[in-house]
């Protein structure tokens, strides 16, 4: 399959049709698996939607490729000394929107109020804000319902629109996405960002061009003059498109193609650990599993079974074969940038099938049991492959797994209805603190906590530790609490961690751009060498 009569045909090729192999000097052709869901910047809290918005709009603060909070439309931000529940933002002066409106504090107030509307998907991130007002044209203050030192963390994807533009185009209210509503801002955009929208056909093609009035023209490389963004669903087609020179930047190359891309000569694949861990959850709270042949008892409720499963999973094999080396095998469900992460806990325990079988026998499942594993097939890197591999590994200790892999929209709907016995999940920690993990994934599921804890696991001691964290101000003590909480989680084997994802961005080798740990490329940083 590698015989290429290229030499013979080059002449013909140029005669028939010439595709430029190198990135053209200024246009960046960029592809990813999915498209932005809407251009309304507050309608969906969704990665790819934010990615496109970051090119067109600005936020007050954004996190850069190093994960640091960086000045966007705000040049300075701090909590007022005398009022611990008020944040003040100093705004950048001399900024204009694409359509010429001048940027002022009023636009920030408008945008935050807009993002607090019931239709807004960004609301949960800022609903601690009780009041927002402009001190002057370039100062904005926000009051939260109590001291909120982490507020700035939540603003990195909160985009600023022009009040004048929104009012003129009747787009002051956020699109009601789930009801299928549309407004002017869904297909049009007017931001202060580095690029302005030229044309957009949803799921097909979005074109942007450099906004020469961008405030950061001198601050960033700004070498791209035009962006053509194309979503391409199929992984091999994406790789083929990059290989054949039809695109310049592939945000999510399939792991199996990384080598091939790197070896092709004019493509470079840059990577960085991603802020996302992949793991399996087991429903251990029910009396009886829905999909198991075991009746009257729940095998997952037995710690020995969980330990056996943990011992059966060969994470290194998954990393090497399924992920082609493009992952970091994990022993805990939080990536290394998170406060509370410990290398010791994250160390992968060796696979020990013999011991696992013993444990199964001890637990009374010498003959094994059956269960259905539910997976996504379009959400995480190689998600279905991971599930297949784990299915085989568990089979070796007698856990007979039926695999059900399907699109994430169906998976998450069922997961949130609490219908799944054994499921795959990936989790990122945008706040970079373990409490985020505890709060969502591990605390006992109630209306206020454990929102994504579908394991039925409930541990009073753990809950008590976790609930001290928000109010604990002594950092050292707080870290001790975190460490203790993690030890309980690890000892109980609540989840089966698999790995932390590694992000790969593939691009023409003449492109310089650092990988952003939250998978948010900002083309303003891109430069050609």
């Amino acid at each position: 399959m590698t015989i290429t009569p290229r030499a013979l045909t080059t002449g013909l090729a140029t005669a028939v049709f010439a595709l430029s192999a190198a990135a053209s000097a200024e246009t960046l052709r960029w592809a990813n698996v999915g498209d932005s869901l809407t251009l309304d910047p507050h309608a969906q809290n969704h990665g790819q939607t934010h990615t496109i918005a970051h090119q067109i709009y600005n936020t007050l603060i954004y996190s850069n490729a190093a994960g640091a909070q960086t000045a966007g439309l705000a040049t300075d931000w701090y909590i007022l000394d005398d009022e611990p529940d008020v944040w003040e933002f100093t705004l950048r002066e001399g900024v204009t929107f694409h359509e010429g409106q001048a940027f002022t504090a009023d636009d920030v107030v408008f945008s935050f109020e807009r993002a607090l509307h019931a239709n807004s998907d960004m609301r949960p991130l800022i609903n601690t804000i009780t009041e927002i007002w402009a001190e002057d044209d370039y100062t904005v203050r926000m009051r939260t319902d109590g001291p909120n030192p982490l507020l700035a963390n939540n603003l990195t994807n909160l985009f600023i629109m022009s009040r004048e533009w929104a009012e003129a185009n009747d787009a002051t209210v956020v699109q009601d996405f789930s009801a299928g509503e549309e407004n002017y801002a869904v297909r049009n955009a007017n931001g202060t960002g580095p690029f302005r929208l030229v044309s957009r056909e949803a799921d097909v093609r979005t074109e942007m061009e450099r906004f020469d009035g961008f405030w950061g023209m001198d601050q960033y490389p700004m070498e791209v003059s035009r962006i053509v963004f194309t979503p391409i669903q199929s992984g091999s087609t994406r790789a083929a498109a990059l290989l054949s020179g039809e695109i310049d930047f592939l945000q999510d190359p399939p792991v199996q193609d990384v080598n091939r891309l790197e070896n092709s000569g004019d493509i470079v694949v840059r990577n960085a650990p991603q802020n996302r861990s992949i793991f399996f959850g087991m429903d251990q709270g029910r009396d009886e599993l829905r999909t198991s042949d075991v009746e009257g008892e729940n095998p997952f409720a037995d710690r020995r079974v969980r330990e056996a499963m943990n011992l059966a999973v060969d994470r290194n094999a998954i990393q090497r074969i399924v992920m082609r080396g493009q992952s970091a095998p994990a022993g805990m469900i939080a990536p290394s940038f998170v406060n509370g992460y410990e290398e010791e806990l994250d160390r992968v325990t060796g696979t020990n099938t013999a011991r696992a079988r013993e444990l199964m026998a001890e637990a009374g499942y010498a003959d094994g049991f059956s269960v259905t594993m539910t997976c996504t097939n379009d959400r995480y890197i190689e998600d279905e492959g991971i599930c297949q591999a784990v299915t085989g590994m568990l089979g070796q200790i007698g856990v007979n797994v039926r695999l059900n892999a399907r699109p994430n929209s169906i998976h998450f709907a069922e997961l949130q209805n609490g219908e799944l016995d054994f499921y795959l999940l990936g989790w990122g920690v945008p706040t970079l603190d373990s409490h985020y993990v505890f709060d969502f994934l591990l605390e006992t599921k109630t209306d206020d906590s454990g929102a994504w804890n579908f394991t039925g696991w409930s541990n009073e001691e753990f809950d008590a530790l976790s609930r001290q964290l928000p109010t604990e101000t002594d950092l050292e003590r707080r870290n001790a609490l975190i460490a203790e909480a993690w030890r309980i989680v690890q000892d109980e084997i609540v989840y089966l961690p698999i790995h932390h994802q590694v992000l790969n961005w593939a691009m023409r080798s003449n492109i310089e751009m650092d990988v952003h740990p939250e998978d948010q490329p900002m083309i303003k940083y891109l430069s050609f060498n």
């Binding site: 091999s236 193609d257 080598n259 074969i321 259905t372 297949q388 299915t391 085989g392 797994v401 059900n404």
Partner: protein
């Protein structure tokens, strides 16, 4: 059609084998080397698939027997971790591609044969009914046939599949997937049988023996069936052979589109779909070997069908 002479003075009817060997069909078969090769290849693949559990060196459908570290072993190479050798290499899960092909062909052929059998029974039955009853029954059946014929099989199959996906609870979808496929493909392909049988029935039903049978209150359909069957065996055999190739391709296409059999019980189409992801990364064997098998199988069946059609239609000779 047949050349055997029934000159009553012959004391013994020649043996079946003798008659087969003497027949025009057999003669034309022996004279077309391409068809002989095709038939032999088809036979080999069918037998290999049927006896897959005894032939295959591995059991690819049992996840517990897989060793992930065998993943992506190239053909005829020694795996660097496990030291195992696989003639057609292994896929992303360490599954022996050769065994997977045998089992995959088993699924493909099972679906193909079952779908053809289903379509044939349905088509022959409805054709007989339409031809014999006539009137509104006939009109109804033939209108449905017309309408369905104007929709391509793949669309009909996709629709049936889409509906089934909604009707069947998710837990059972995987187990039932094969039956849904058979149903979908079979339902999309009954029309030709029905048409052939119907027209034959129409011309037979007014003949004396049917009328006579009625007088003796022998159920006419039974008589019809007995008499019509020999008339339509040839055409039906041709339709079924071509139909088998089409069904196998349709199954693989549906599986390729991700609406066929589950990945844990792959057919040839599923294997190709899975392998496609690795085509550009250099693991060509995962998709090329199943692809070649599918091609050889479909081509062989098509060649046999093509030959059969020509051989049974003396006009074309």
């Amino acid at each position: 059609m047949t050349t055997e002479q029934t000159t009553g003075d012959q004391p013994l009817r020649p043996s079946l084998w003798r008659r087969i060997v003497d027949s025009d069909l057999f003669y034309s078969f022996i004279r077309s080397p391409v068809v002989v090769v095709s038939a032999v290849l088809t036979l080999i693949i069918v037998l290999a698939a049927a006896f897959a559990p005894w032939i295959a060196p591995h059991t690819p459908f049992n996840p517990a027997s897989l060793n992930l570290m065998n993943g992506f072993t190239p053909p005829f190479s020694v795996n660097e971790f496990t030291g195992d050798v696989f003639i057609f290499g292994t896929d992303s899960q360490g599954r022996d591609v050769f065994s997977a092909i045998l089992y995959g062909a088993r699924v493909s052929l099972l679906v193909g044969f079952s779908a053809v059998a289903f379509a044939m029974i349905l088509g022959v039955g409805l054709g007989l009914l339409a031809g014999y009853k006539g009137g509104w029954v006939d009109s109804l059946i033939m209108r449905v046939a017309d309408v369905q014929l104007s929709f391509p099989a793949i669309l009909v199959a996709l629709m049936i599949f889409g509906v089934m996906r909604g009707v069947i609870p998710p837990q059972q979808q995987d187990q039932l997937a094969i039956y849904v496929l058979i149903l979908a493909i079979g339902l999309s392909d009954w029309v030709q049988y029905a048409r052939t049988v119907r027209s034959s029935t129409m011309s037979e039903k007014n003949k004396e023996y049917v009328q006579a049978a009625r007088l003796f209150s022998i159920p006419a359909p039974a008589i019809l069936f007995k008499h019509i069957l020999p008339n339509v065996t040839g055409p039906i055999l041709v339709i079924a052979t071509i139909g088998l190739a089409l069904a196998i391709i349709l199954e693989s296409t549906l599986s390729f589109l991700g609406v066929g059999v589950p990945a844990t019980q792959p057919s040839l189409g599923t294997l190709i779909r899975i392998g496609q992801d690795y085509l550009f990364s250099g693991e060509w064997w995962i998709t090329i070997f199943p692809g070649m098998t599918l091609l050889i199988l479909a081509l062989s069946v098509n060649l046999v069908g093509d030959w059969l059609r020509d051989a049974l239609n003396p006009k074309l000779r």
